[in-house]
């Protein structure tokens, strides 16, 4: 199974969180079973695409009778790794950092905010979600004495590389990068970029193509 996992495409990796989200919506609306075909139609995919994705992980039960939504969602949660609690710190408590800190939804997925760091005297010492914002100087000690799974980087692009290096050297294995630059990390560390400007440019690009065609 582990070898098969390696071959999962980026596109499939993007689909799994959507499966999880859709199945949650279906469950909330009282539906208990769904076929791959029905799920595909709702999600704008094909049934075979869904079956192929699921087959990476053993297929999840009898396709002829449809999938049992509760079970499927739980299995996908395990695959995504969100069945286990993750300790998260936010570095950079500016507007975007605060928005992410304030987003209650993350806790539903097992993300536990355990530290907030900033360089600005304006926010250091203030309370956000029951945590006191700490100065960046405290980051190293914090990482030495606390288990941190994921660091959220909401700092300017110019500061990101140095902070990232420190995080990696002190054992952080996951970085959610909002800084407007790409990061180089050693093997064993995972970065997912959430470059908002890139996303907005993608929108423009798609609109521009639509206009020309």
């Amino acid at each position: 199974m582990s070898n098969e996992k390696k071959s999962i495409s980026d596109a499939a990796i993007r689909r799994f969180p959507r499966y999880y989200r859709y199945l949650g919506e279906l469950e909330a609306s009282g539906i208990t079973r769904i076929s791959s075909q029905e799920l595909a139609e709702k999600m704008g995919l094909t049934g075979s695409q869904i079956r192929q994705d699921f087959n990476h992980f053993g297929g999840f039960g009898q396709q002829g009778y449809g999938y049992k939504i509760e079970v499927l969602r739980e299995e996908i949660g395990k695959i995504l790794g969100i069945d286990k609690s993750k300790n998260v710190i936010v570095i950079g408590a500016g507007n975007l950092g605060q928005a992410l800190i304030g987003y209650a939804g993350f806790s539903h997925y097992g993300f536990k905010l355990t530290g907030i760091f900033d360089i600005s005297e304006k926010v250091i010492g203030t309370q956000m979600r029951d945590l006191t914002v700490l100065p960046m100087e405290d980051l190293e000690d914090f990482l030495k004495t606390n288990i941190v799974d994921i660091a959220v980087l909401t700092v300017p692009a110019s500061a990101a590389a140095e902070i990232c290096e420190k995080l990696c050297s002190l054992g952080v294995k996951g970085i959610w990068n909002f800084a407007h630059t790409d990061l180089t990390v050693p093997s064993g560390v995972t970065v997912v970029n959430a470059h908002l400007t890139d996303s907005l440019m993608q929108l423009c690009f798609r609109m521009n193509c639509d206009q020309i065609n």
Copy 2:
């Protein structure tokens, strides 16, 4: 050319904003020319991938001597459609909406914030970036009397579909969707999703795969 554009993959669409960003960084550091191979190495791509992407749009000049960065960046800006100013409204001035409103960087790419809407009495009437936050009831009139290219949806998932329908019926052609749900839009309207929870789940998924492998 327009037919070729249609065949551009999602992955390529995601690469173009990165090209634009990297070329900007190179230009800022005083470099004037770069080969596709050098650019590829910096970006973790292959030279042939870059050439293939660029060939969709005619190739951008003599490859043997490398690309002239200033010209290439300008051309890619045109392709992305960010050479023309775009009027943007933000619907939902909560934490995330405010973070996006406060992000000065967007104006560098020609995005002009022209309206902010919310349903909360707490924020309606307050000033954000020289704009007064308007009540949602004013949205329809606003769209009838102002040209709006892009609407940024930072509202709860439950409210998103209805607002999206209104936006589409009143001529908005681009929706940047942060609401935690997928939207159905008529042909001619482009949606790009920026589902932050999906992005965080992707990070977990990749970390989980790394641990198992």
